[in-house]
Symmetry: C2
Subunit: 237 residues, 2 copies
């Protein structure tokens, strides 16, 4: 059986990723990638189609609307949390370890997808009590189980869930914003004018600007997280 040339494997040297076939998962992944590259504003059914080597209209066989596309992209991205080996779906070394791992996992996810994260933060969830950035029944269940098993009352577990959510949301949204993420244009041409703000009227800002511009996000995160855990510890019975 000589195989002098395989006829399907040939990549023809096209530089972009090939188009193995259209399906929902592939469209969503391409969408996530597109947003990470150009920002949510530029994601268009037509441009995404082009990206996939297909007419925009073809996407409608797999995705009912642009809104649904965005929701799907958010889902596909947060689903990565399940694949993070550092994050356990149930506590193994106590609830603090569980929460630390979960928090760090979400932070890694946010930093890996700074342009998608604002969508994770602001897209409506399936129920008002399914809060970003967890966004899934499965993780909320996991969270509550971890705490109640550790001796938290039902109410305390719920309170902890809420405090944990808003802590993560605030910190991570600000951290990705500082990376230049936004729901906005990201004008390819001019990557945003240096715009050295006029601080003449703000003496304190002037003298503190350097300090304000330092990136302390990691320390901030760790300290606030630790303080949150202390606070939660007080809720435990």
């Amino acid at each position: 059986m000589s195989e002098p040339e395989r006829r399907d494997g040939g990549d023809k040297g096209k530089s972009t990723a090939e188009k193995p076939r259209l399906d929902r998962q592939r469209i969503l992944e391409a969408g996530a990638e597109f947003i990470e590259q150009f920002g949510p504003r530029h994601l268009t059914m037509r441009r995404l189609g082009t990206e996939l080597g297909v007419e925009a209209m073809s996407l409608y066989r797999y995705i009912p609307s642009r809104e649904n596309l965005l929701d799907g992209i958010v889902e596909v991205v947060i689903d990565e949390l399940y694949k993070d080996p550092e994050v356990y779906p149930e506590p193994r070394h106590g609830w603090q370890d569980y929460l630390l791992r979960l928090a760090h996992g979400l932070r890694r996810l946010a930093l890996a997808h700074p342009q998608v994260f604002p969508l994770i933060a602001t897209r409506p969830t399936e129920a008002p009590w399914v809060r970003p950035p967890l966004r899934s029944l499965r993780w909320v269940e996991s969270f509550l189980k971890a705490l109640t098993s550790a001796g938290f009352s039902d109410q305390a577990a719920v309170d902890a869930y809420r405090a944990f959510s808003s802590f993560l949301l605030g910190h991570l949204l600000l951290e990705v914003a500082a990376m230049g993420a936004d729901v906005g244009p990201v004008d390819e041409a001019e990557p945003r004018p240096p715009r050295s703000t006029d601080l003449s009227d703000y003496p304190l800002l002037q003298s503190l600007q350097e300090r304000l511009s330092e990136d302390r996000s990691e320390q901030e995160f760790e300290e606030a997280l630790e303080s949150l855990l202390d606070r939660l510890e007080a809720l435990q019975n």
Copy 2:
């Protein structure tokens, strides 16, 4: 010189808010109102024009682009903070009182503009260290002055500013989200199907659903705020 009738004063009794004249401020206020009514997604140059009794093209005499319109709306809304008599631009009864008033003022503002708040939270600011939800050099200066005057070191004041920002952002974004705000459609027709999620696979959620649906946002806010102040107190020298 008899003046039997003045020719410019007549109001003609039109019922809707009059169109006294087109100007930037009026457009921005109309925009804020529009977003609060229909959601950011529905705000269109053309629809806003119609709302103001004018063709969309006329807006371009005052507003260079839709992006600029959104930024202007955000600005106009946060500027309300200056008009809140409960919020002091400089501390009068100590830094804790100052921070409490500032936090409560921002919460009132968020609750008064639940549809605009996500824009306040996610629109890019003029410098990365000007964080939402304060978003203005003037408030950052005010904040830092309040704390340094109270004996905080420069670094501690900056740390406090960051912690305060992310606390507010997380809490308020989640609170307005629970009110049904989103950067999304708000389909007038169906105000979102009750969508009673299937919880059969999540026993804990099932038994805690009632508790999870309770609105405890005020207590949450107060408790987290108090805990934040405690944390900041530890930074003070």
